[in-house]
Amino acid sequence: MLKYILGRIGAMLLTIFLVMTLSFWIIRLMPMTIFENPEVSPEVQYKLEERMHLHEPKIVQYYYFLEGIILKGDFGTSVKLRPGMDVFDIIMVRIQPTMVLNFFSLLVSIPLGILAGTVAALRRNTWLDHVISFAIVIFISVPSFVFASLLQYCLTFLWPVFPTLYNAQAPNVWQAFRSMILPITALSLGPIATIARYLRGELIETLSSEYMLLARTKGLTQNEATWSHAFRNSMVPIANTIIPMITGIMGGSLVIEKLFSVPGEGGLLVDSIMAGDHFLTVALLIFYSLISLITILVVDISYGIIDPRIRIGGGK
């Protein structure tokens, strides 16, 4: 098991290195003017560019880039959005709202998805299943920003139940959370549907499996057999859908943060790309990849815990 985890971590480090390399080259090969600020004199500009090694060949810049990150934890300096500020600090300031948003979406969608999928599978081909399955199709196929706009229109304009935008200066936790409810809802609908769809299919398959039948011939009741054989076994492949789900939530939150003016990393990434603040963009890309990789690592490890075939097979 330890070997399995170490292997996973090794693979993760390799991936993060590749992501760093790729995002550096893609962004730096784009034509860039670092400074467009007319108030800064050309001499000062030249000096600053010198300090950022921008006159060296790209490969040398790449070396400085890696050296900065790996040895000093230095991701560079913002040049357009917050000129002169350390990129890492900018990200750290913004991290909390993003984390809250993404974390709560996950927290909401996993149990609700499991519940919906289980109900649909156990009540297969009844009206309840049809309603759930219909909702699943809608929620999977319509992107989250459409729901976000719909929710905003209905629940803040027609019936003003919730605040339209995220309230960064909320006087108390409840107020702050209340302004987060709509973005969390908009982000969660898709993932709920994804989990429900997979679990429904998976559960229906395991329910009709031979080992379910065997469990019943042993003398277990249908409920006992469903719980200890079908349900647990269905969770194994579900763990795998959680990876694309998390990246999906993060991708969705880029737009959702913008729509609800959440001062998080998503909006920052969009802004930095628009403004051409390349140091910031690269750092944010690495940040997002790192989050994805960590979730993949967690899922992989839990996968090994749930499924002995992976744990024991990987320990060879």
Binding site: S208, S209, E210, Y211, L213, L214, A215, R216, T217, K218, G219, L220, T221, Q222, E224, S228, H229, R232, N233, V236, I306, D307, P308, R309, I312
Partner: protein
Amino acid sequence: MAQETILNVRDLRVSFRAYGGTVQAVRGISFDLRRGETVAIVGESGSGKSVTSKAIMGILPSNASVDAGTIMYDGVDLAHAPENVMHDIRGKRIGLVFQDPLSSLNPIMKVGKQITEVLTRKGMDRKQARAKALQLMKDVGIPEAERRINQYPFQFSGGMRQRIVIAIALAGDPEIMICDEPTTALDVTVQAKILELINALKAERSLSVIFITHDLGVVAQMADRICVMYAGKIVEMGTAEEIFLQPAHPYTWALLSSMPDLDTRDRLAAIPGAPPNMIHPPKGDAFAPRNPYALNIDFEEEPPVFRLSETHYAATWLLHPKAAKVDMPESLARRIQRMKEAGGRA
């Protein structure tokens, strides 16, 4: 044979609702299982033999229904017993061994837990249950049971998994064991060992066994009595000796002729055609269209069951007193002659 009958199936009819209509999988079968004997049910795929075993266990799928008949066991009609009664019978009184050990074990549960699961749920304490599981694993011939009890099914070979499945079936100390094609998914060399094991366990625990298979060759070394099923009906029933040495139904002839024979260079006789569509079972004898000996009446009216001896019955018009006398195919007759000379061994 005057043993006591412990399971009695009378005129059992089971049908499935399918898209094209109602599939009549079992169309009125009757047989007895006596204490300590092995009854084999033999037939092609789709003849209704597995459905019969599922009906006895009360685990028919939800689109199936028992339309008529009774399955009497210990004063209870299993065909119409409520779920809570069946819980106490399944596993505890009647155990079932499935065909495919690869898919009938839960892949992510330790085999020990799969054996003891029912015991602990019914109130046995863990230590006792574990000891019992170890004993069962030894009984079914799994070496190093102490180590293997904590392993998962994928760490076992096919034959070993089938032994686990048998151990699970025996965990509740049942008196009837139904084996539904227990060796079909296994290698031939492993098959023989599993059959030996079933026979040994049967003797040790004085089990009564219903053995379901499509392979007459397997039946020869297992069964006391044989029911030959075709298209949801029992077409011939008799002791193993009667079925192998004096077969009376053309379908049994065809089955016997389709067994490979090492002693002759005769071509292996396949049965022409395919089993009938059971949504619209044919009029008359269902085997008639594939039967070279079919009489005109076979296409008109179902044959009644003719009694050949105390234990031997067959449903074919050929046995009617007015029917012309037809003998079994000559190659089969020769083969039976050789079997008799070899001492009744198939």
